[in-house]
């Protein structure tokens, strides 16, 4: 197994610039006089666009062939006596999350105006962007932790300051819940570095690569420490039953806040599981996999059922996140290339589709001042363009073949089926339920007769269409031609799986022969090489059944 390495330095400090740029923007906004809210918005748009340009440039420069290595490395000693440094790099796992983040922020900033106190609003959004990017590029445990924690502050202020309804309660709950989760992670992290030091005999170091490649901890210690990390990530994802902060925070947050929360911040947890769970603690992750698979499946079904019951459209979308993130957890702990690639892809997909759904619901609320499904109806007639965009985004969220959501869910279910068949079977019902709650909601909101204010609802404006077009383009592109995305992930995912195989004695990756993401069509002779999953011919059924389930369900309810 090739150990993961830092690639050669490219000269330009791309990643520090990526994190610093939004901060600079936030500081600029802070010194703009508050009588000029338009200036604050202009600065916010410009800096987030510039950050996006940097991010796209990073994508352009990214070497697909060596996606398993950490590229664009930058290193700078931070607290020297404690072995803490700024150590950043991007590999195939973090690449797309960075790209998602830099693209989602400018869209969210353009899409909605806060209505009051523009200056702090945009400053907080930019601080939030810097924090999220910091998490995704961090390769030092300390650095990861501080960015992981700091994102709470801007989001707390965004919810408390610009939220709706019971925003104070939601903000407080969000902050304390997630802080509680990461409190124990700090204890675990410090235990890890001290145990690593005494086992390796070297200096104190917080370097992720060094600690992960050494695997110097005893099994028992690693499991305990993994538990503290997993708790932090489970709260952040959130995994059932730690999800209770999510519906409140998502529903009460301002629209841009919900978009970012769902689109980016939930990925901090799922990304954490991959980078600081599976990579750092391969044995403990394997050991805990059935537990998390189960919670993932419960999350999928629970989230879907509760979403079906919701009366508030935004809350419905919030609960749909619980279900979607259940899929991501499922794929992550399937521990094979398909599952993890699918999970990664689904992180990006969920960011796009749920981000867009929150935007649409936000605009709906701006127009109708209600999100209650019962008070809406027949909007298709008054706002046909709105309805059309909503349909595409919703179908992506459901996982309709040809759109992006399908690819991710399919890979996850394939990977899980090979590894843990019955979990995959149970999870597949979630696909049907997703169609149920979203289509039913769509029916109630957009179909039927339009009365009163519903009949006069304003359709999408040009600016709003312009914001939505990139979302829809991504949804369609990634649905039809996911290869460019997947091929940049795969080397890193392969390396991660190989890392787990190398360090866990009795673990072999549960696989089918049609490795990778692009080949799900030719699953005929797929069979498992793993002893405990030796169900060669059933695999074929699984592979061909899932999409049918899913598309049938979609059609039936639609009619």
């Amino acid at each position: 197994m090739m150990p993961v390495v830092l690639a050669a330095d490219v000269g330009f400090p791309l990643l520090p610039a990526l994190v610093a740029l939004p901060i600079i923007g936030a500081l600029l906004i802070a010194i703009v006089p508050s009588v000029r809210p338009d200036a604050a918005k202009a600065i916010a748009i410009l800096t987030s666009m510039a950050t996006a340009a940097l991010g796209v440039w990073l994508l352009w420069q990214f070497e697909t062939t060596s996606a398993a290595d950490f590229q664009f490395p930058s290193e700078q000693s931070w607290i020297e006596s404690a072995g803490i440094s700024w150590l950043a790099g991007v590999d195939g796992i973090s690449l797309w999350l960075v790209v998602l983040t830099v693209l989602l922020f400018p869209l969210a900033i353009i899409a909605v105006d806060p209505g009051h106190d523009e200056k702090p609003y945009f400053a907080w959004l930019l601080v939030l962007e810097a924090g999220c990017l910091g998490v995704f590029v961090a390769l030092d445990l300390f650095m990861f932790f501080v960015f992981f924690e700091i994102v709470l502050v801007p989001m707390y202020f965004l919810i408390a300051g610009w939220g709706h309804g019971n925003a104070k309660y939601a903000a407080m709950k969000f902050f304390l819940y997630t802080m509680f989760g990461s409190a124990l992670m700090l204890v675990g992290m410090l235990s890890l570095v001290f145990l690593h030091r005494s086992a390796s005999g070297g200096d104190l170091t917080f370097s992720l690569i060094e600690i992960a490649e050494a695997q110097s901890l005893s099994t028992n210690a690693a499991r305990w420490i993994f538990a503290t990390f997993a708790l932090a990530f489970a709260v952040k994802v959130p995994i059932w039953p730690l999800h209770t902060w999510l519906p409140d925070a998502h529903t009460e947050a301002p629209t841009a806040g919900s978009v970012i929360l769902a689109g980016v911040m939930l990925k901090l947890g799922t990304y954490g599981f991959l980078r600081f769970g599976l990579y750092l603690f391969p044995e403990a992750s394997t050991w805990a996999a059935p537990f998390f698979l189960t919670l993932g499946v419960i999350g999928i079904i629970y989230g879907a059922i509760v979403a079906t019951m919701q009366k508030d459209l935004k809350r419905l979308v919030a609960y749909s996140s619980v279900a979607h993130l259940g899929f991501i957890v499922l794929g992550t702990f399937a521990m094979n290339t398909e599952g993890i690639t699918g999970a990664l892809l689904q992180m990006v997909n969920h960011g796009i589709s749920t981000g867009a759904l929150f935007l649409l619901v936000g605009w709906l609320y701006e127009r109708r001042h209600t999100r209650m499904i019962s008070e809406l109806g027949g909007l298709q007639k008054s706002a046909p363009v709105f309805a059309a965009f909503f349909t595409v985004v919703m179908l992506s969220s459901i996982g309709l073949p040809g759109l992006n959501g399908f690819v991710g869910e399919f890979l996850i279910l394939t990977g899980t089926f090979v590894a843990h068949r019955w979990w995959a079977v149970a999870a597949t019902t979630g696909v049907i339920l997703a169609a149920l709650y979203l289509l039913w909601a769509y029916q109630r909101v957009f179909h039927g007769p339009a009365e009163g204010e519903n009949a006069e609802m304003e359709d999408l404006r040009v600016k709003e269409i312009a914001v939505l077009v990139p979302f829809v383009a991504a949804i369609v592109f990634m649905g039809i031609f996911p290869k460019p995305v997947i091929e940049r992930m795969e080397p890193a995912v392969d390396a991660l799986v190989a890392h787990i195989e190398f360090h866990v004695d009795d673990f072999d990756e549960p696989v089918t022969q049609n490795r990778g993401g692009s080949g799900w069509a030719d699953a005929e002779d797929g069979h498992s090489k793993d002893g405990e999953n030796d169900h060669g011919d059933s695999d074929d059924h699984g592979d061909s059944d899932d999409p049918e389930d899913d598309s049938h369900a979609g059609e039936e309810v639609d009619h």
């Binding site: 104070k168 407080m172 409190a183 700090l186 001290f194």
Partner: protein, 497 residues
């Protein structure tokens, strides 16, 4: 005559340089009081405040010079005046902290005193005298000297606590602090006596050497317990904290600012030097005691703090909780633990001064508007002040990129290094509970409506003090290395005279 000279005691050699920070802080108030009584009418009213601030700065400069000497021609630390006063990085760092507290408190205290119409030059004289007591504690290399320091520090603060003569709460605070403080002093003195009985000396170096070879440790244990009670009172650790909320609530806000910073520094100076260095040989016996004190302080400070409705009381409880965190560093009984505790103490000194400076501004005339309702909508009325206070509160909550976070990070690291996992978990959980306390205040400032509240006047001096503390908290929270290296350089050294 000749005979007399021969039989007189040897005059110990005195390193005047090493004592210079202390001499400046102790001598200045005496000289100033004399001059002020003669010339006071002819000088501007702001003179005492500025002189005090300058004395503080001069003390910092002197301490920095002495600290610089230690790296050069002198050993890491030495003691002077027959082994009574230690000059090392530890005493110089804490001297600087106390001097910072004096400077910043004196600056904004003037406008406070004018607003409350209780202006008097004595306030500043007492402030400096009290600080000199704290500095004696910082360098005390002898239990008797430590006791002298405690008394000088405390008696001046008792008077300061009661100095808002028209407020009943202030009177009550002074009396309460005095009675309980005298009680604690008695414990301390009793502990010193027992320690003398056990080891035959009050000198910390002698005690350190003698303690390992003791056959009967019973007496030393008793002494240790009593010393811990006395010093635990000064640092406001549970269960010796009962005075804190009332005294913080009643005392004039600038005095609270001084109490939460300088008095705490003095208390921890004594505690760290006596326990971690002099009684290091008995670490196995006192770490369980500190373990209990630390846990109780952190948990009780946080839990009781969140049900308070008065911001001053909330921060009083939070200061109890912070004392618990510093004790976590002390409990590790390692040099990393010592530097962690010192880092936390440094960070908290600035945070506390800034926080109480904000309160002294918001509390308005009469120093009475300190309920959490009085902070409603502060972000609308005074956005910059609210932002500064928010940063200080978040730093106390342990949010990254502040010194407050690094303080928690280091003390928990020290605990984990010694495998005190339980303590680390208790610390982090109480930090989360504590965060609720700070967020309540932040929420009041940002999310509540406070249009009907009276206008707030922010004097320049208070703004300056708050700005300095906020910048310190954020700057060293991001660029951490200089401060970390400084406290690692400030380990106490006990040298025999």
């Amino acid at each position: 005559m000749r005979v007399l000279l021969q039989t007189s005691v040897d005059i110990p050699s005195i390193d005047w340089g090493g004592l210079s920070p202390l001499l400046i802080m102790a001598g200045a108030p005496l000289i100033f009081l004399t001059l002020w009584s003669l010339l006071g009418d002819r000088l501007p009213r702001r003179t005492p405040s500025l002189v005090t601030a300058l004395v503080g700065v001069a003390t910092i400069v002197a301490a920095a010079i002495q600290w610089g000497r230690l790296d050069g021609d002198l050993p890491q630390g030495f003691s002077t005046v027959a082994g009574a006063y230690g000059v090392d990085g530890f005493s110089m760092l804490l001297t600087c902290l106390i001097a910072v507290a004096v400077t910043l408190t004196a600056l904004f205290a003037h406008d406070y005193l004018e607003r409350e119409a209780i202006y008097s030059a004595e306030f500043f004289v007492l402030l400096m005298l009290s600080a000199s007591g704290g500095m004696v504690m910082a360098g005390a290399n002898d239990l008797i000297v430590l006791f002298l320091g405690v008394e000088v520090l405390s008696i001046a603060v008792y008077i300061l606590a009661a100095s808002h003569a028209r407020r009943v709460e202030s009177q009550e605070a002074g009396l309460k602090y005095f009675v309980l403080g005298a009680f604690a002093s008695a414990f301390l003195l009793y502990g010193i006596a027992l320690m003398y009985g056990a080891t035959g000396s009050t000198n910390l170096a002698h005690i350190r050497d003698a303690i390992g070879g003791l056959e009967d440790r019973g007496l030393a244990f008793g002494a240790m317990a009593l010393l811990l009670v006395g010093l635990g009172f000064k640092v406001a650790a549970v269960p010796f904290h009962a005075w804190t909320p009332d005294v913080y609530h009643g005392s004039p806000s600038p005095v609270v600012s001084f109490m939460a910073s300088a008095v705490k520094v003095g208390g921890f100076a004594g505690l760290l030097r006596v326990f971690n260095v002099s009684l290091g040989g008995l670490a196995d016996d006192w770490t369980p005691m500190l373990f209990v004190l630390a846990c109780l302080s952190m948990v009780l400070g946080a839990v009781v703090g969140i049900v308070q409705d008065n911001v001053k009381r909330m921060l009083a409880y939070s200061s109890i909780s912070h004392a618990g965190f510093i004790l976590v560093g002390a409990e590790a009984a390692t040099s990393d633990g010592m530097s962690a505790a010192l880092y936390y103490l440094t960070a908290y000194t600035f945070i506390a001064i800034g926080s109480f400076a904000v309160i002294s501004v918001v509390s308005g005339q009469g120093d009475a508007r300190t309920s959490i309702r009085d902070f409603d909508g502060l972000a609308k009325r005074k956005p910059v002040l609210a932002l500064g206070f928010t940063i200080l509160l978040l730093a106390q909550a342990g949010v990254p990129f502040t010194t407050g976070f690094l303080g928690k990070f280091f003390v928990i690291g020290a605990a984990i290094e010694t495998k005190a996992y339980l303590l680390a978990v208790v610390a982090m959980l109480s930090a989360v509970v504590g965060a609720f306390l700070y967020l309540r205040i932040v929420l009041a400032m940002y999310a509540n409506d406070g249009d009907d509240r009276p206008a707030i006047d922010v004097p320049f001096t208070a703004a300056f003090t708050i700005a300095v503390t906020v910048l310190f908290t954020v700057f060293f929270g991001v660029f951490a290395d200089p401060l970390v290296d400084l406290v690692r350089d400030a380990l106490p050294v006990i040298a025999a005279g």
